[in-house]
């Protein structure tokens, strides 16, 4: 049985400009001990979908189900959620400075977190455990640094302290929302290693949300590609990078500079991401897609494609490269004719 099973999650917000449909029917599951990467650009709904599961999107209109260890998190009461958040599901956010309280010592914040969920533990024992956790994430002189305030920590140390806090109660699931985006690469490498080693040692399942495909390639087992509030593709790590099906995934990979080899001209995805106030009907990627067809007016289901088990893609395109190329050429031809027509007019 999956550890967390999300079914047809829909989240929308009322804003001054209208209703923003941030998440539009997202389904996925994660097994115990697995690492699932959620990749997507700004406004793809990747953060909102996990925040909703944790009950952190106040004032949103939510529908769907998110079953964690047999319990639907979307209908759980505030007391139930409080017992789950932190203890069974840990979270780390992008900005560790705003997630740590500037007024309280780092150690005190970890201790409070432990004692909130574990009523039998004494204060000294909890402090001891906080020191041990800080040591584990590589904070030098943890018995001394446990009495420091957050501003006395560097950015990388704060993020590692956040990991220590998130892992304090040995949760079954850790949600890391852009945990290394604000950090330098050498510090990012430290933090990712800590997350990976923690996971190996304690068998924690991790949902890693990021926009960085490099981070995805380095740490995750499976990848969920999101765009315009929907899941575009799901596959294991190697399939996403070497045999992806969805044109958005393909476009994302092509727009990155190659790590080695020839420096060719980059191939960006033309246009802008859709507005979620008025998302286009059908596939949200259709307006920017080089393979767009008439069929794309209706959103395809997230169905199995290719030969790899577990490879799902929400696209009408055939998987066969030759057929895809034929469609792309036809589209390019039509576009060319269109633009020739418009300049002639």
């Amino acid at each position: 049985m999956a550890l967390l099973e999300v079914e047809d999650l829909q989240v929308s917000f009322n804003t001054a400009d209208g209703v923003v449909q941030a998440v539009r029917g997202v389904s996925y599951h994660i097994d115990a001990g697995q690492t699932l990467g959620i990749v997507g650009e700004s406004g793809s709904g990747k953060s909102v979908s996990t925040q909703t599961i944790m009950g952190l999107t106040k004032g949103a209109r939510i529908s769907g189900r998110a079953v964690f260890q047999g319990e639907d998190l979307l209908t759980a009461g505030p007391d139930q959620m409080r017992a789950i958040r932190g203890a069974k599901i840990g979270m780390i956010f992008q900005d560790p400075l705003s997630s740590l309280h500037p007024y309280y010592k780092v150690g005190w914040q970890i201790v409070e977190m432990i004692r909130l969920h574990d009523h039998d533990i004494s204060k000294d024992q909890a402090t001891q455990r906080a020191v041990e956790l800080l040591r584990l994430v590589g904070i030098p002189q943890p018995d001394r640094r446990v009495n420091d305030y957050p501003h006395q920590f560097s950015g990388g140390m704060r993020q590692r302290a956040m990991i220590a806090m998130a892992m304090a109660l040995n949760p079954a699931l850790l949600i890391a929302d852009e945990p290394t985006t604000a950090l330098d690469v050498t510090v990012q490498a430290q933090v990712l290693r800590v997350i990976r080693r923690m996971q190996e040692m304690f068998g924690t399942a991790v949902i890693l949300i990021t926009h960085d495909l490099g981070v995805i390639a380095e740490v995750v087992d499976e990848v969920l590609v999101m765009y315009g509030g929907k899941v575009m593709e799901r596959a294991d790590r190697r399939t996403v990078f070497y045999a992806s099906h969805h044109p958005y995934t393909e476009g994302l990979l092509q727009s990155m500079p190659a790590y080695g080899g020839e420096r060719e001209r980059l191939r960006p995805i033309a246009g802008q991401p859709p507005s979620l106030l008025r998302p286009p009907p059908g596939c949200p990627f259709a307006p920017r897609c080089v393979y767009v067809m008439d069929k794309c007016q209706t959103m395809p289901a997230l169905d199995p494609v290719g030969t790899e088990p577990g490879h799902l893609s929400a696209c009408w395109l055939p998987h066969n490269p030759a057929d895809r190329e034929a469609i792309r050429r036809r589209v390019a031809h039509v576009e060319l004719a269109k633009s020739a027509g418009s300049t002639g007019a």
Partner: protein, 397 residues
């Protein structure tokens, strides 16, 4: 304005006598920038050593990349070059002129020739002014075009950078992040500058949009023969755009090399560690290579370490690194275009993970025993499993 000969980059300042020959647009000589800290009375005044003796030269028509982590001084260097900061000491020679001590009045005509593009396209555009007037600012300030003529020129610029000229009267908030960065590019282009300093121009953008802006910058360079100083922390982007790259650490340049060479034959261990830390968007490649995880954090620029500033974290550190500041010069038979500031440079294909520093423990950044960070889970690592309580199962709290 014509682009110069695209010969080999020669980032080392040759002699002061050649006075900015035709092929070098910008020369930075031993530039130092200290920022004073507010001190208490009777205490010695302290300074942030933001840039501490940087020399480089940028050939005409090329892109010179500068990489480094937060606080290495790369943005301060950019601002010194653009004369937004006065330097503490050193010289900045632009197009054959020593502009280091130019008065604001004498700088004015040069401001047209040196432009900047900033990271944050929202913060660098006034939200209450229309885009047409923002892009037209340079003309207004320098009194060069007015009325219908200014509007025509602005619309030309907008079209050139891929914005719809009909959006002349819109506000910055009505544009997306990528489009806002195009506005910044259009404004920088108004006077056909010779040098554009790009300070993290694509860091705030999504990958697919980032590629659009990078291509735009490349097109403009080819069209107008622009010279770029390109500052970023994303190594793969810098490599993609740059002819040669300088690596900075704590206010100093540790290494300069033609971009491909920097990635294939890094000499400075910091460059090696930095390159190994970059996540590679290729699963097989990423599984094969060995990462060097540096211990600790970058030391404070208020009291930087003695000798080589990287020595407390360097796997190859030896007593000489603590005692002597290495000069930036070609090492191990490299050409003049590839200097490195290191006493113990890395040989080609050398594995940094095999080295252990041979300096006193108090000179090093301490490694934390029992932490998950070091390579190879030691005996400490297995004990630590007891740090966490048993996981509680079941649905009810």
């Amino acid at each position: 304005m014509a682009s110069g000969p695209k010969g080999d980059a020669n980032p080392v300042p040759a002699t002061a006598a050649d006075g900015g020959g035709d092929d070098v647009l910008l020369r930075v000589e031993n530039v130092v920038k200290y920022f004073p800290l507010k001190g208490a009375p009777f205490r010695e005044k302290e300074y942030v050593h933001a840039v501490d003796g940087v020399s480089l030269s940028v050939p005409r028509g090329q892109t010179f990349g500068v990489v480094g982590e937060t606080g290495c001084g790369k943005s301060t260097l950019a601002r010194c070059i653009a004369r937004l900061h006065d330097v503490t000491s050193g010289r900045i020679v632009f197009d054959g002129q020593d502009i280091t001590r130019f008065s604001p009045r004498r700088m004015r005509p040069l401001r047209r020739e040196i432009q900047m593009i900033f990271q944050d396209p929202i913060g660098s555009l006034n939200p209450r002014r229309r885009v047409g007037s923002i892009i037209g600012d340079p003309y207004a300030i320098h009194g060069l075009a007015a009325g219908a003529e200014r509007k025509r020129r602005v619309q030309e610029l907008m079209e050139r950078v891929g914005l719809n000229p009909e959006h002349y009267n819109r506000f910055p908030a009505e544009f997306s992040g990528g489009q806002r960065q195009r506005i910044g590019v259009a404004r920088a282009l108004a006077f056909r500058p010779k040098l554009i300093i790009c300070d993290e121009p694509v860091s705030a953008l999504d990958v697919s949009i980032q590629a659009q802006v990078i291509n735009l910058l490349a097109d403009l360079q080819a069209e107008f023969g622009l010279t770029y100083v390109f500052i970023a922390h994303d190594l793969s982007v810098v490599r993609h755009v740059s002819t040669s790259i300088a690596v900075m650490y704590l206010g100093k340049i540790t290494e300069i090399a033609p971009s491909d060479e920097l990635f294939t034959v890094p000499r400075h261990p910091y460059t090696g560690a930095l390159l190994s830390a970059v996540p590679v968007p290729d699963p097989d490649l990423s599984d094969q290579r060995q990462q060097i995880i540096l211990a600790g954090d970058v030391p404070s620029p208020i009291a930087p370490p003695s000798g080589c500033r990287f020595h407390p974290r360097c796997p190859k550190a030896a007593p000489v690194c603590v005692a002597e500041d290495p000069t930036l010069e070609p090492r191990l038979g490299d050409g003049p275009e590839h200097p490195a500031a290191c006493h113990l440079p890395m040989a080609e294909g050398e594995n940094l993970a095999e080295f252990r520093p041979s300096i006193a423990a108090e000179e090093r950044v301490e490694e934390v025993e029992g932490s998950l960070l070091p390579d190879g889970a030691g005996p400490g690592a297995t004990d630590t499993a007891g740090a966490l309580p048993a996981r509680r199962e079941g649905g009810q709290p």
